[in-house]
């Protein structure tokens, strides 16, 4: 279940609150889905910009005292009370996800950086001429912006201040714990600072001052993007989650939105060069008025996670919520009697990503060490001292480990086993089965007595197989004989039939021969007959006185036809 809360801190006043809120200085209040006081921390009184919240701790700079109270959100109690040499006028947390570095702005115009995990404490030059009253840290935790009644905003480099080994000094010859840039476009005391939500180079900052202006500028380049002339002096400022608009609160308890976009433009209006030099007038009538005139000055404002609800903390002790879309007051969320000076929205609980991301957590902070332990060793300037230790509780392994999950971890959380593992197992079982009984025999418990019988059995088995081999051999031989016999008888039958066929053939030939003989005899006889006829005819012709040869020829011709006929016949 998604729920959203904020942390509010109050300044002690003469008024006496109800019993539940007695002594309470810091409240964790849920406002969505329903307003509800979640937890309280006691004995704290903070001025504006005196509250900082990290994922594990709440830090509150006490008003009129040089003391910071540290409360553990995990345990819900006050963990430490840390004294400082100067009064702390503003406080902020750096170190994005974990909030490991606390930035403190002092009465004397310097910053103190306290690494809450190591106890190291580093101070900067006193670059502000007046107390540091407002502090913001950029989303990348690389820059700190500090505002002061001396009308300047300083930009500091966090690595420059914290680094043990400083890069060699450049041309500017500035000590590395001095501000890298000063923004001095305001003409009066800075009242509030807000920083954009970009990690990039063109992130914006909004500063408001007592000269009734709000200036939007780029803190990494120092370029002024837009100047807004406000109807009166703003006391607090907040930015939309997408930097589409800014919101300011006024002394009279009203709040106002400053739209950065003009209609129908695709480009971010802040970066339109043509409007950068002209201040924009913000109309007095556009203010969103509080429900009652006695609500008191707005001391802090803050936005919900989705940027649709604006929360404002007032001197009357009330926390009001405003509907941004309808541009008017919505409800009173809480009433803490004492003036509410700080308001910090917490990221909603129940979002998947916020819980997963952090790799470590801090249970107890390490108080600043005032001994000279972290001074550079004399022989090696710039090196890290040996007793510089970082106290933390590592909760998830770092990324490089999880990059290559082993088969084991995969199998451990698998619904049964990964397929590759099952397949290996099946292959192994199959190999066991096919390789025969020897492996199975190894698995079955084997005693010496049974092994004897196994030997006997195997001997008998051997004999039996021998006999069987013999029998099969004999059978084979018999079969061979059989087939041989079959083959010979078949041969005989074949031969006999062949013989019969030959006999028939001989007979046939004989008959043919006889027929031919007879034919020949007949032809002989016919020839002789013709011979005789011829002779008789010749004789007769001679007798009649005619030429016998002509007759002969004529008869020959007849004969030729006749003999050819007969020859043909005989050929057939």
């Amino acid at each position: 279940m998604l729920s959203e809360s904020f942390v509010a801190s109050t300044l002690l006043s003469a008024k006496s609150p109800t019993a539940t809120l007695r002594d309470v200085g810091i409240c964790v209040q849920e406002f969505q889905p329903s307003p509800q006081l979640r937890s309280t921390f006691k004995k704290s009184s903070t001025a504006a910009n005196g509250l900082a919240v990290s994922p594990t701790h709440i830090f509150s700079a006490q008003a009129e005292k040089a003391v910071v109270h540290v409360y553990s959100r995990e345990k819900g109690n006050q963990e430490a009370l840390v004294p400082f040499p100067e009064r702390i006028r503003s406080i902020a947390v750096a170190g994005a996800k974990y909030g490991d570095v606390l930035v403190l702005g002092t009465e004397g115009g310097r910053l103190i950086l306290w690494e809450t995990c190591t106890g190291r404490q580093v101070a900067t030059t006193a670059s502000h001429l007046q107390p540091v009253t407002s502090l913001v840290v950029d989303p990348t935790s690389n820059f700190i912006l500090s505002g002061s009644p001396d009308a300047t905003v300083h930009v500091w480099s966090l690595p420059g201040i914290l680094s043990f080994s400083k890069p060699a000094l450049g041309q500017n010859r500035q000590p590395s714990n001095a501000p890298i840039r000063t923004f001095s476009n305001h003409r009066a005391a800075i009242t509030a600072l807000a920083i954009g939500h970009s990690n990039g180079r063109h992130n914006i900052a909004v500063s408001t001052a007592k000269d009734n202006t709000a200036i939007v500028w780029e803190y990494q380049t120092g370029r002024v993007l837009r100047t807004f002339l406000l109807p009166s002096s703003a006391t607090c400022v907040a930015l939309d989650p997408v930097d589409r608009a800014g919101y300011v609160g006024y002394e009279d308890g009203s709040v106002q939105s400053i739209d950065f976009y003009r209609a129908h433009t695709v480009q971010h209006a802040l970066h339109d060069v043509s409007t950068q030099s002209t201040p924009a007038q913000v109309s007095l009538e556009d203010r969103w008025l509080p429900p009652a005139a006695d609500s008191g000055s707005a001391r802090a404002i803050s936005l919900s996670y989705d940027g649709t609800i604006l929360l404002s903390a007032h001197d009357s002790g009330k926390v009001l919520s405003w509907n941004i879309a309808r541009r008017k007051f919505a409800t009173t969320v809480a009433d803490y009697t004492h003036p509410v000076t700080n308001l910090v929205s917490l990221p909603p609980s129940g979002l998947q990503q916020t819980t997963k991301e952090s790799k470590r957590t801090i249970h107890t902070i390490v108080k600043p060490r005032h001994d000279n332990a972290f001074a550079d060793p004399s022989h090696a300037p710039g090196s890290v001292p040996a007793d510089y230790v970082f106290n933390t509780h590592i909760i998830t392994p770092s990324q490089s480990r999880t990059a290559k999950p082993s088969l084991f971890t995969e199998a451990l959380t698998h619904a049964s086993f990964p397929d590759s593992m099952l397949d290996d197992g099946l292959a192994e079982l199959a190999a066991l089965r096919t390789s025969g009984g020897s492996d199975v025999a190894r698995v079955v418990p084997v005693t010496p007595s049974t092994s004897n019988s196994v030997e006997d059995a195997s001997a008998r088995d051997n004999h039996v197989t021998e006999l069987e081999a013999e029998v099969s051999m004999l059978k084979k031989k018999a079969a061979v004989n059989d087939t041989a016999r079959h083959a010979t008888s078949n041969e005989v039958v074949q031969l006999r039939s062949d013989l019969a066929a030959l006999q028939d053939y001989i007979n046939e030939l004989h008959e043919k021969q006889e027929a031919a003989q007879r034919d020949k005899v007949l032809r002989q006889a016919r020839k002789e007959e013709r011979e005789t006829k011829k002779r008789e005819a010749w004789l007769a012709a001679e007798k009649k006185g005619r030429n016998g040869d002509v007759v002969m020829k004529k008869i020959d011709v007849d004969d030729g036809a006749l003999t050819s006929d007969s020859d043909d016949l005989s050929d057939e």
Partner: protein
């Protein structure tokens, strides 16, 4: 529905012959996990009839599984293990309750000579069961407390033999056991959850692990085993005796650091170290220089002795890995990371680097008592040691994230120092890229100019690693790193095959490189630098090289980063160019590109880039015209405008950067095309152009008239290869454009007369062959 599934499962499980069960085991397991709802439903709240039926089925299933675990056949036990795991995953608490006999059966299997897979799966199943019981005190009482010690003993017996000593029992690893990795994994998984039960085994485990981690020559353990052993070693402090468990982490990590120092004392004895510890308590040990390098005794962690430089380096690496695990594994409670000591250690390890050339000792004086052989052996081992040290630092950065801020500068200096002399090693480069990338991510926006300058070498080498090694690009980047190398290279040294078949070469390389890890690291480092580091701190030439590289490699993310953080506009040099056209052309279908180019919501843009954007559009137009083979006159006009400015600049007095850049690019293109001779003529021609107006007018017309498509095409190609699109486009085309400009300024009065008009002029003599060749070459080579 699920109840019928469950009934079907129990039915099949009881009726199928045991030796056929394995083949359906996978299917049954999947079906069982489908019944998860039923199996995990609390049994006490089921008064209905169907529910009691389910209870009966579940009971049948459990009894069948229990009997299968005791089955005589291998197949039965194998199936039982698979299905037990499936039921445990599906049923969780409800099934685990009353699984005590099954756990006993599983432990029993470990001692049996079952197939390896059965035993491996039993180990995993048991680990999972003990893993799950962790959250439930009743189950811990019922299952874990009585059976976990038995499991540990059985598992350890699989991989090692117990040796009884008077001082206590220790374990010797069995050689070649297939179970080593899985057993160590199982123990690693269980130690953080049940540290008290492991307490009696602490010393046994420690002795086993020191044997594995300290293994020297004849014994070998594969990488995964050593990996798990290192992790397990780093979590052993959790099962230290109660009275000292709180300080266990601190003591163990401290003695690891001391052990590294001790091993380093020996390994680095060939040099006289310049390093001085910030920790006063550290005393270097006396050495015997006459013996071979080595440590006779066991060190602070109890790792055994070693001998030889190589084993010494191995030991240092193992110890560094243990230390890395100490700071990256989830800890039992609050721990104090000794950042000071770790940085002290890495500064010692990185202070000795391989000397730049040969024997000239660089930052480390050689120890005269040690022979040259050992020292050279040490140089060979150094890159490995430095990679280990940088990996340790990478772990530190990854766990501290933004809180690394106080020490980023120190880490950066160490990494750059090592990189300077050891960039020949691919692994050193890879590790440096990764480490620097994480640093830039943390502190990039607020980096000082000096830090950015110190990284320039690394960035150049990134580009070199990303670009394909072959052809024009390779020689170009080489010539940029040292311009003299080209002239030295004789004709005999070049690879003749590459001239014969250049395409083949390119193809082979593209296969060989694939997607290597070093390229990924180099690309992420470039992205981080483009995104985080203020662009005005990066020297223009480096930025140009980076831009050129990411265009050539079509690296979408890097191009996006470059577009989001454009080159700052310099006064008097016109608008800064952007890579948007290349991005839009290559990845027009990607949603990031769409969001960037055609924003639905307002985008952020700085003022000078407004003009740059207009410029880019014109450039895009020019490209489009090329594709349409359109009359090239407007394009020529545009170039003409630019080139006139360029040529009229008095060359010798021109500002140093622009001049250098131009001649540079020219040289490189020419060198790459192999026309070393022509280069001088070419360079001269640029200057002469104005004086030889008549000749060049005549000469230019035919060239531009005939070669119009190809030369314009070349413009687009060359701009694709150039990083700083605007500048180098003009630079490369100088000969061509110089001619065009003279045409328009002398013979043609109006600038908008198209080049084609002058085609009527009679082409006369003196067509400059060099120009022609050069252009043709360029086209073929780059196209």
């Amino acid at each position: 529905m699920t109840s019928t599934t469950l009934r079907a499962i129990t039915h099949r499980l009881t009726t199928t012959p045991v030796d056929q069960l394995p083949s359906i085991a996978s299917f049954l397991a999947t079906s069982l996990s489908d019944c998860a709802e039923l199996l995990s439903a609390p049994q006490s709240q089921k008064p209905g009839k169907s529910d009691s039926d389910n209870a009966v089925q579940i009971h049948k299933l459990k009894t069948r599984l229990a009997s299968l675990l005791q089955d005589r056949s291998v197949e039965g036990r194998w199936t039982a293990v698979v299905l037990v795991k499936a039921t445990v995953e599906a049923g969780q608490w409800e099934i685990l309750r009353g699984y005590e006999p099954i756990v006993r059966g599983l432990i029993g299997i470990l001692a049996k000579p079952d197939p390896i897979s059965t035993r491996k799966m039993s180990i995993i199943t048991l680990t999972r069961i003990f893993h799950l019981t962790y959250q439930y005190p009743t189950l811990v009482r019922e299952i874990t407390t009585p059976h976990l010690p038995g499991f540990i003993t059985a598992a350890l017996n699989l991989v090692s033999t117990l040796v009884k000593l008077p001082s206590g029992s220790s374990r010797k690893p069995k050689p070649n056991t297939p179970f080593m990795e899985i057993v160590l994994h199982a123990i690693l998984e269980l130690v953080p959850r049940h540290p008290t039960i492991f307490r009696p085994f602490g010393s046994q485990l420690r002795s086993l692990l020191t044997e594995i981690l300290g293994a020297s020559e004849p014994v070998f353990y594969p990488e995964p085993v050593v990996d798990v052993a290192v992790q397990l070693f780093a979590s052993l402090y959790k099962c230290a005796p109660k009275d000292k468990s709180g300080s266990g982490w601190t003591d163990d990590s401290r003695s690891t650091i001391l052990s590294v120092h001790r091993a380093t004392d020996h390994v680095f004895r060939a040099v006289v170290e310049q390093w001085e510890s910030v920790d006063g308590s550290l005393v270097p040990i006396k050495q015997n220089y006459s013996k071979e390098v080595g440590d006779g005794g066991s060190d602070f962690l109890g790792l055994p002795s070693w001998r030889g430089v190589h084993s010494g380096a191995n030991r240092i690496l193992t110890l560094l890995r243990i230390l890395s695990e100490f700071i990256s594994m989830p800890s039992a409670s609050n721990v104090a990371l000794p950042l000071g000591l770790i940085l002290d250690l890495t500064s010692r390890l990185t202070s000795v680097i391989v000397p730049a050339n040969g024997e000239s000792a660089n930052g480390a004086q050689s120890n005269p008592q040690i022979g040259r052989e050992e020292r050279e052996q040490l140089w060979a081992e150094l890159p490995r040691i430095h990679i280990g040290a940088m990996n340790l630092l990478a772990h530190v950065v990854s766990i501290l994230e933004t809180s690394t801020t106080p020490i980023t500068q120190s880490i950066l200096e160490q990494a750059n120092w090592v990189f300077r002399n050891e960039k020949f090693s691919k692994d050193v480069r890879h590790t440096t890229y990764d480490l620097l990338q994480s640093l830039v991510f943390v502190n990039g926006p607020a980096m000082a100019k000096q830090s950015v300058t110190s990284m320039v070498n690394v960035l150049r080498s990134c580009c070199h690693d990303l670009l394909p090694v072959t052809g024009d690009s390779g020689s170009q980047s080489k010539s940029q790193s040292d311009p003299k190398s080209k002239s030295k290279a004789g004709p005999g040294t070049s690879n003749a095959d590459s001239f014969l078949n250049p395409n083949l070469n390119a193809r082979q390389i593209s296969i060989a490189s694939g997607s290597s890890k070093i390229e990924d690291s180099a690309s992420t480092l470039l992205q981080a630098v483009l995104l985080s580091v203020p662009s005005e701190l990066l020297a223009a030439s480096v930025r140009a090289e980076i831009d050129r590289t990411i265009i050539l490699t079509a690296d979408k993310d890097a191009m996006l980063a470059s577009v989001l953080n454009p080159i700052p506009a310099v006064k008097g040099r016109g608008a800064g160019a952007s890579l948007i056209p290349f991005l839009a052309r290559t990845y027009s279908d990607q949603k990031e590109v769409e969001a960037l180019v055609r924003p639905r919501m307002p985008v952020l843009m700085t003022a000078p880039e407004l003009d740059a954007y207009a410029e880019n559009e014109e450039e895009e137009e020019a490209d489009e015209m090329v594709t349409e083979e359109y009359d090239a006159a407007p394009a020529a006009n545009e170039f003409l405008k630019v080139s006139r400015v360029e040529t009229q600049k008095p060359e010798p007095t021109a500002a140093a950067p622009s001049l250098h850049k131009r001649t540079y690019a020219e040289e490189s293109t020419l060198q790459s095309s192999g026309l070393a001779l022509a280069s001088e003529q070419q360079a001269g021609q640029t200057k002469k152009a104005r004086f030889e107006e008549d000749i060049s007018t005549n000469a230019a017309e035919p060239v531009s008239g005939q070669n119009q498509p190809s030369s314009v095409a070349k413009v687009s190609v060359s701009s694709a290869t150039s990083a700083d699109a605007q500048t180098s486009t003009t630079t490369k085309e100088t000969p061509f454009k110089a001619q065009v400009s003279t045409v328009s300024s002398t013979s043609q009065p109006a600038a908008d007369v198209s080049v084609d008009d002058s085609d009527d002029e009679v082409p006369t003599l003196n067509m400059d062959p060099d120009t022609d060749d050069d252009e043709d070459d360029d086209v073929t080579m780059e196209g």
